[in-house]
């Protein structure tokens, strides 16, 4: 079967709804930036919202939700594993530097 035959056409309504959500989440982020929150709480909230936005863009704008499942399973998990490994290796070191500086 060809890619063209499988290609589903989606109304522009869906894209406009996704756009609305993305703008709303951005507004929440800008609002949060001016709240007096502890740095780590702020980081977790902002990154959480950004991951939701990224997922919306990938799923709907980049159409990954409507491709075969095998494509998403090939592309996304390796990326996530690499990013998690980066964090696992670097952040303990960064915190240790912080300890040394303050002592």
């Amino acid at each position: 079967m060809s890619a063209q035959a499988e290609h589903k056409e989606h109304g522009s309504r869906l894209y406009l709804i996704v756009w609305g959500w993305l703008l709303a989440l951005t507004a929440v982020e800008v609002f949060l930036a001016y709240e007096k929150l502890p740095l780590t709480t702020m980081l977790v909230l902002l990154m959480g919202l950004s991951i939701v936005k990224a997922a919306l863009i990938i799923a709907y704008f980049m159409h990954l939700r409507f491709e075969r499942r095998s494509l998403a399973l090939t592309l996304v998990p390796p990326l996530l594993i690499c990013i998690i490994l980066l964090m696992v290796f670097f952040f303990p070191d960064s915190l240790r530097l912080l300890e040394w500086r303050s002592s």
């Binding site: 890619a3 001016y34 007096k36 702020m42 936005k53 592309l75 990326l79």
Partner: protein
């Protein structure tokens, strides 16, 4: 399953997409790792420096960068419209939407260059800045600079695509592939904007 047995003998397309699209997806994954590494490096130096400067004021920095986010998100929507029009075979409509997308990208670049000039006038360079930790400038210009390079390349790519698609040189599949790149540039900004700007607002 019968389908999987024949997968190994070739002639099957396991992802059911054309090779250009698969190529663009693979490029996007590797480019995503480049940006992830830069963001992790930025977070690393930021975390180990307790006195990291937070100089971005409501106006101009945060206002401008919020408008820039709006420009990129809106240009993503016009890009989706361009791809949809291309698939329906409406060539000139698609080229118009591509033009709108390029305008969004150009607005982003102009606003961002403006913001850069503002910081440079305040004395921020990659090696020093008026607020202390010199790495602030290095990470700021590396992250936003690489992203801006991607936006500029994206605008050129879309320009080539609009010209070629208008003349019938490219197919609607090619427009869709250029759309993937454009959405990725938008996606990266969704991480740079909160990490670089919103985490460093001047209270």
């Amino acid at each position: 399953m019968a389908g999987q047995a024949t997968l190994w003998s070739g002639g099957e397309s396991p992802y059911a997409i054309n090779s250009k699209k698969l190529g663009m997806w693979l490029f996007i994954i590797s480019d995503a790792l480049t940006f992830s590494v830069l963001l992790v490096a930025y977070s690393y130096v930021r975390m180990s420096n307790p006195r990291w400067p937070t100089p971005f004021e409501m106006y101009p920095a945060i206002t401008f960068s919020t408008i820039m986010t709006f420009c990129l998100l809106s240009s993503s929507v016009t890009m989706v419209m361009a791809v949809a029009a291309a698939h329906r075979g409406q060539r000139s409509r698609s080229v118009q939407w591509l033009g709108a997308t390029m305008l969004g990208g150009l607005a982003f670049v102009v606003l961002h260059a403006n913001e850069w000039m503002h910081l440079i006038h305040e004395g921020v360079t990659p090696f020093k800045n008026p607020w202390g930790v010199p790495l602030f400038g290095a990470t700021f210009f590396t992250l936003t600079g690489l992203h801006m390079t991607h936006v500029i390349c994206g605008v050129l790519y879309l320009g080539v695509m609009a010209l070629g698609f208008g003349r019938g040189k490219f197919t609607s599949q090619d427009v869709e592939v250029s759309g993937l790149y454009w959405h990725f540039v938008d996606l990266v900004w969704m991480f740079i904007f909160p990490l670089v700007y919103l985490m460093s607002t001047k209270m």
